[in-house]
Symmetry: C2
Subunit: 234 residues, 2 copies
DNA sequence: TGACAATTCAAACGGCTGTTTTAATCTTAC
DNA sequence: GTAAGATTAAAACAGCCGTTTGAATTGTCA
């Protein structure tokens, strides 16, 4: 076991390595199977470490889970950048960027998609321990999307209406994550991985913009009518 | 234990009762926690039965799960009726009925919502054993929705486009199921149970109809342009 | 090199899981 | 009433889980 590594500065890195490998393997398995169904033996095996390594480097399975989410969160910050495009771009492009970043963050294979998958799991069945971190991720993104929606609906739109529309858009995106197993089974000829993201983005943006513009037009019409009525009444 | 029940015809019903109570308790727990996280001890306790009862009346936990889904499926047929309203009603009403039935089937509390919750679980992580039954439920409903979408988009819409739009509608509905824990946490002032269904239906239908009509209008315009071009070319 | 701390390892622990066993109880029919 | 079958009950089983233990190994520094 002890081969060609003596008093080597690389070793101090190697020491940190086990801890780091555990976080990476943990993120992978947690995202794949969820907190409960992920076993420490599976994680340690993928990390090439002993079963006791988790309890040595972290306190327990739960702390490793926390570390994995924290790590994924710090790695995935770039997606947040992609989501919040300069506010002076056209709403079309801004919505497209948001939807694309969110879809990519969940459908990609490998490391970059941990965060999206972990957050999606926390949405459906929160472990409680990390609702703060989830909220630090979910809420800002939701605010970005709300800003885009508000810019389409116009300044007269109520907060409740903006929230509902934002949820409709998020729902369309998350559908391809949560229902993916069923989609793959029901439509074997279609693809639902990263290679399909472009097409999905195109549809979701088109669908949602038509909906938003339609709602905006209806609102404007009803506001004109209201103004006319109240104007005469006064 | 043996009290006032002797040679009573009710007893033969009581015998069937244990089996039936197991199915009901099983459906409840499976819908609540999923197949893996549901324990036979929990199910038997809620059914007021011994631990060995599951292995006596059914072969094992998996067979009980199958029986529970089958039972929920037969009970929930009425929702399918609600979904498929007479094809000559206005698309507005038909879409509203579909969305409402689907939402109710998942958000309701108690027995009637088992089916919806169980199917939602199978969508996200199929147990494999019952993909047939899921398909018997999911595919017909999807076809109903596709019919409604087609009637809005017009006869010229492609199958792929209809599928995408139907998924956008289903995604909006399922969002309130999968992301419910997060919604409750993030918006404590709002309600996301059966009492909120009416409002959710109203928004989803409005949002989706605007989207569909917008897409239909765009399609019609582009088809007119194509017809004009090819017409002159000939 | 030798003492000391940091890390790894195999093994075992207690707890919970689904399932099986064996005996007790109840139901039915003669 | 009694024998035969159906159902229930308590107890134990093997297997996997997260976690702990204590010794062996490795790295660090004088």
């Amino acid at each position: 076991m002890a081969k060609a590594s003596r008093s080597n500065p690389v070793l101090t890195v190697d020491l940190e390595r086990t801890r780091h490998r555990l976080v990476e393997a943990g993120g992978e398995v947690f995202a794949e199977k969820g907190f409960k169904d992920a076993t420490v033996r599976d994680i340690c095996q993928r990390a090439g470490a002993n079963v006791a390594a988790i309890n040595y480097h972290f306190r327990d399975k739960q702390s490793l889970y926390a570390a994995a989410i924290q790590y994924a969160h710090s790695c995935a910050k770039r997606y947040d950048g992609d989501m919040a495009t300069p506010p002076k771009t056209s709403v079309d492009l801004r919505l497209r960027a948001f939807v694309r970043a969110m879809l990519m963050g969940m459908m990609e294979d490998g490391k970059p998609a941990w965060h999206g998958k972990l957050i999606a799991r926390e949405m459906a069945e929160p472990t409680g321990v990390l609702s703060q971190i989830v909220m630090q991720t979910v809420r800002p993104r939701f605010l970005i999307l709300s800003g885009i929606v508000r810019d389409v609906l116009g300044p007269g739109a109520s907060d409740a209406e903006i929230r509902r529309c934002a949820r409709s858009i998020v729902g369309q995106v998350l559908f391809y994550h949560f229902a993916k197993p069923m989609l793959v089974h029901a439509f074997p000829d279609e693809r639902f991985d990263a290679s399909a993201v472009d097409g999905l983005v195109e549809h979701i943006v088109t669908f949602s913009l038509h909906a938003l513009h339609g709602i905006a037009a209806t609102n404007a019409k009803s506001r004109r009518a209201t103004r006319k009525r109240t104007g005469r009444a006064r």
